[in-house]
């Protein structure tokens, strides 16, 4: 039983933590949500029949929502950017100033996305989940997930263009 949980955590720890962090907006609480999710999953009598990764993301998402309801707080946008991402390595010569600026705009754009679109971007881009796995995780049809993700990408591009126009 515990082996598949170890594999899941080893492979998806960044994505799971990122998903929890996007919900609760606070790193310590996000870790508590991930830990609580694994405790819940370990209490199940047997391994889930469906996709294990989708099951884990669903458990973490539900645990994070429960944590957020208990805390009943919401960080301001500036704190969201600081808590979801870390600063890039400034000393790396491969990181040009333009690339840093682009990433900064992308970070702000992700923060401005609606919650239901942002979690799709995190599960897709940082968790590496397929649309079907995402659909299983959030309990939505595949078509809904696909269209919502495309809308999220369009929104990000538009937000980045707006941000670039303001600079």
């Amino acid at each position: 039983m515990k082996h598949w949980l170890e594999d899941i955590y080893r492979e998806h720890r960044r994505g799971l933590f990122g998903l929890a962090l996007s919900v609760v907006r606070e790193p310590a609480t996000a870790e508590d949500a991930v830990h609580e999710a694994f405790v819940r999953m370990a209490k199940q009598p047997q391994k889930p029949t469906g996709d294990a990764a989708a099951y884990a993301y669903r458990a973490v998402r539900n645990a994070a929502i429960d944590q957020a309801r208990r805390r009943k707080t919401r960080a301001k946008p500036a704190e969201e950017i600081a808590s979801l991402f870390v600063a890039p390595e400034q000393d790396d010569p491969s990181w040009s100033a333009q690339r840093n600026e682009t990433q900064a705009m992308l970070k702000r754009a992700i923060d401005e996305l609606p919650d239901n679109e942002r979690e799709l971007v995190i599960m897709r881009s940082f968790g590496g989940l397929t649309f079907q796995q995402i659909a299983d995780a959030i309990g939505q049809p595949l078509s809904t997930v696909s269209s919502r993700y495309q809308n999220a990408i369009k929104s990000l591009r538009q937000l980045m263009e707006n941000s670039h126009a303001r600079t």
């Binding site: 039983m1 515990k2 949980l5 170890e6 955590y9 720890r13 960044r14 933590f17 990122g18 962090l21 790193p27 310590a28 609480t29 996000a30 870790e31 508590d32 991930v34 830990h35 609580e36 694994f38 405790v39 370990a42 944590q67 208990r70 805390r71 808590s83 979801l84 991402f85 870390v86 600063a87 890039p88 390595e89 682009t102 990433q103 992308l106 970070k107 992700i110 971007v121 995190i122 897709r124 881009s125 940082f126 397929t130 649309f131 079907q132 696909s146 495309q150 990408i153 990000l156 591009r157």
Partner: protein, 178 residues
């Protein structure tokens, strides 16, 4: 076979974003729990914070309660005496000590409070004239001026007071019949 999912170049940028990694503490917590799922899992840090918050509140309440008890005890040690003379008790306290002689000796005062009698200090006759009484008989009237003096002791100041009062009067002198 499912259709290939569309790929956007923006997704390459997303994949390069340095997302925050979970701490090593979470890794240790997960690994420790998965190694021994039946062991008591330490409560999450959010729950420990709640416990700490409740403990702080309980400690404050305990201190406040202790202070309140101390104040009550101190107040009881010094009860309100009330206004002097406001006792309405119909049963006066018992007499602790009573003088055995109901008629103590009367001690004469060491000094006299009554002033001395009025004393004529000086007098002189200014003039005299003959008048006729209602019965037709003549008499002599004398105008006299005099100074009376009264002396007394003032116990409050411890001094002897003296007052001189002038007066002028007609005095009837009896006339011998002829």
């Amino acid at each position: 076979m499912p259709a290939p999912e569309p790929h956007d170049e923006l997704e390459d940028l997303l994949a390069d974003l340095p997302i925050r990694e979970p701490s090593q503490m979470l890794d240790e917590r997960i690994n420790a729990f998965l190694c021994n799922p039946s062991s008591d899992t330490p409560p999450p840090r959010s729950a420990r914070r709640r416990v700490l918050r409740f403990a702080s509140v309980a400690a404050l309440l305990l201190v406040a309660g202790t202070v309140a008890v101390v104040l009550v005890v101190l107040n009881q040690a010094h009860p309100d005496i009330g206004e002097v003379g406001s006792n309405t008790d119909d049963n006066p306290p018992a007499i602790v000590e009573q003088n055995a002689d109901p008629e103590p000796d009367i001690v004469e005062a060491a000094y006299r409070f009554e002033p001395e009698p009025l004393r004529l200090e000086w007098s002189r006759e200014i003039s005299e004239e003959t008048r006729t009484a209602p019965n037709g008989k003549p008499y002599t009237a004398v105008l006299r001026e005099a100074i009376d003096q009264r002396t007394w002791y003032d116990p409050q100041t411890g001094t002897t007071m003296q007052v001189s009062t002038p007066r002028k009067e007609w005095v009837i002198r009896h006339q011998n019949p002829f």
